[in-house]
Symmetry: C2
Subunit: 450 residues, 2 copies
């Protein structure tokens, strides 16, 4: 079972920062992150995962407060994982970066650089940024439509793989005696000319320990699933029931064959929002204490943002209005609307629900109960692993490590110590061979990662 620690500064619960034990300045408290990373590493997590937004979202305090603890007052992820690489030894480091507001050469280079610094522990979470406010910071007056963003993302990923293959693994003999530092026959100039990018290459850094940093994705739209089937090695997703998880899992893995890839070359890791304690009752009390800290305006603002419609003028104890399909955030919104219908939730109830686990799979219980829930998905074609979204930090992560991990290990579902040194090794993903070897064997890049 693959295991990730998805770190929001103060935790994933909307009111986590108000928790008595919370480090309220967590987003810019480097020592806080060092503590979290080292806890996760001691516990044997395969990776830690950082989300991103290239904008402070919202203009008034309520709107800003929706995201204040994680998208307004927070470290930039690539710089944060670089720094964490220096104070950890084994755990994988996955940072989110947008294909819409980055440049492929710069991003390829930074990721390869951190892969060297960390000795092969980097993953890149490819996102396309479905958020107007980011566009305003990058010279655009509107964000590009969904299909256009995914076309760009696909080309972006191709360019990155090509740049990461600029040099064979043995392109730098560095022979002091002869004076031969590099072997130019082992250089591969990309010369990419595409719809969105023109990038000559080569990348000005040797091929990194993992060949290519691990490619992570989180889209659940049609275009997102298709791109994942073609290029992703890890998929992070929000699935709230066994049936939904199974359907998503079968769907994405089923698409891989057309790209010549084996299902095992992609690990599907749904998010889990676990509230854990020694007993179910204690866990329930923990959760309710957190829910009580949610400012009602913040909960409503989060829901409005998720659904993309105003709700403040409606009776808060009544049902959701009919909501027409729009383009921007459709897949995650559909999940929410379905939950509300299925459970007959009022606006207020749905708002609190969303503010709590943010639409992710919430499990409140003892270590045994949380392990049971994870085992069920894992053993029934719903997940290859999980991205653990602790409700508050560091306490929620400590609880998970203390109560859940020993049970998973006792049941033989989770390895103990790290067996390898790179993130690819932790996840059982093949390292893409040196481009020269690949050409000799007549392999395409798809066959490679199959």
């Amino acid at each position: 079972m693959a295991l990730g620690a998805f770190l929001y500064p103060t935790g994933h619960h909307a009111a986590a920062w108000r928790h008595p034990q919370a480090q309220a300045d967590a987003g810019i408290n480097f020592e806080h992150y060092v503590g979290l990373a080292q806890t996760a590493e001691r516990a044997g997590f395969d990776l830690l995962f950082l989300a991103d937004s290239a904008a402070a979202r919202g203009k008034d305090w309520v709107a800003l407060s929706r995201f204040a603890t994680h998208y307004v007052a927070q470290f930039e992820p690539l710089t944060l994982i670089s720094a964490l690489a220096a104070v950890t030894r084994r755990i994988g480091l996955v940072a989110t970066a947008s294909t819409t507001y980055n440049d492929p050469y710069s991003l390829a280079r930074k990721l390869a650089s951190i892969d060297h610094i960390s000795h092969g522990r980097v993953g890149w979470n490819l996102v396309t940024s479905g958020n107007e406010e980011e566009a305003f910071n990058f010279g655009a007056t509107a964000y590009p439509p969904h299909a256009e963003r995914y076309r760009r993302a696909r080309e972006f990923a191709q360019v990155l793989k090509g740049l990461w293959d600029s040099w064979d693994d043995d392109a730098f003999p560095r022979d002091k005696a002869s004076g031969l530092f590099l072997d130019v026959d082992k250089m591969h100039v990309l010369g990419h000319q595409g719809e969105h990018f023109s990038v000559r290459g080569p990348l000005n850094i040797p091929r990194s320990p993992q060949g290519w940093p691990v490619l992570v994705q989180a889209g659940s739209s049609e275009a997102g699933k298709e791109l994942a089937a073609e290029t992703a090695e890890v998929v992070f997703t929000a699935q709230r029931t066994l049936a939904d998880a199974q359907a998503f899992y079968a769907d994405v893995k089923g698409r891989m064959a057309r790209y010549g890839r084996q299902p095992s070359a992609l690990k599907i890791m749904p998010g889990i929002f676990p509230v854990v304690a020694a007993t179910e009752a204690e866990a329930q009390a923990k959760f309710e204490a957190l829910q009580d800290l949610i400012h009602p305006s913040v909960a409503l603002a989060i829901l409005e943002h998720r659904l993309g419609v105003p709700l403040a003028h409606l009776p808060q104890d009544g049902p959701l209005p009919e909501i027409a399909e729009v383009e921007s955030t459709r897949s995650r919104r559909a999940l929410l609307l379905e939950v509300a219908r299925r459970e007959g939730l009022s606006i207020r109830q749905l708002a609190l629900r969303v503010a709590g686990a943010r639409g992710h799979w919430q499990v409140v219980g003892s270590g045994e109960q949380v392990a049971d829930a994870m085992q069920e998905l894992f053993e029934n074609g719903g997940a290859d692993g999980f991205n653990v979204m602790s409700p508050y930090l560091p306490g929620g992560l400590d609880d998970f490590v203390e109560h859940v991990l020993p049970v998973l290990r006792e049941r033989g579902l989770l390895r103990g110590e790290y067996q390898g040194t790179t993130l690819r090794e932790h996840l059982g993903l093949q390292r893409p061979p040196s481009p020269h070897l690949r050409a000799t064997a007549g392999l395409s890049s798809h066959e490679l990662t199959a």
Copy 2:
């Protein structure tokens, strides 16, 4: 006297990587950099300085070998200083990033993030990239002309300062009791619309410990000096004689008044390429051993690149041909041509000279002799400090620390222990006040840094 350690992976001498003690893979050897940074920090250096190029320069092995050890097979600087921030406590961390191939929002955010991670030790070396090969990696077919690059650079720096002022220092009360995480009245939305950039803001990270990371520049063209006078707080420069250094120093400082700035708000730090040993004879022998390791084709290629003209077809023991003025790298080239004229050097002699110290100020001697040379510039209006370009690493830095620093301290020219914690404090530069306070006092941003 301000002191920087300008780190090239294996050292600044073109053949440094062939030195018997060199770490030939230094460019991607993180532990090597940790050792250098910690040595420089123990020795009390104000900062370490990293150059950059967003391309592997050259296509054949000779051309690539010119830069192979530093611009082909090397960490990306922002990721490297992030990682070094985690394993150092006091030393300033200055990274180069181009205004031509970066985006202001992303760069502002990364620099602020590293300033938080490092608790206020970041500097940004603004360059405009006078190199065609970088353009090819960023969708361009030619690099923009000099004047255009500088116009963009000026606007870029303005946008960064504006974004760094997005939030007052006290904009995040994070009051758990009331639920007030941020104070929206202390948010300042930039709303920049300029010739090159349209950036709304605010930056999605709180104001950093230094307010603004320290602004460093290295241009010596007219436009470069003018921009430095307007915005820079540190200027790194190549000056090879007292007279040249004095002229440059007076020129740049003399331009500051028109921007309402005091001369002390900008520190001029010429590069010094010191070859140091216990005695002058030993130092000379060290230098000659390094010169003997230079591959003649590499030396010639470096000179051809510097001058922008082919020279291989000419008698190598004859003089340089007449060379017409071209636009790309004119100021550094003019310095070289003057040296060749003044000293009557042949092509071969100039090539070896350039490959050695790369056009910088080379001083070969005992600790006393190197300290004498530095003192002369420092006390006669030629320098506020120096950027030390060790010929090979780590040995060359160790030599400088062992032989030169004790002499400078004995003479009272250099402080001992760090007195402050931020790079601004090390250099005696004012921290730009919170934007709200500034507005109240009716100060412009120029008056601020004056």
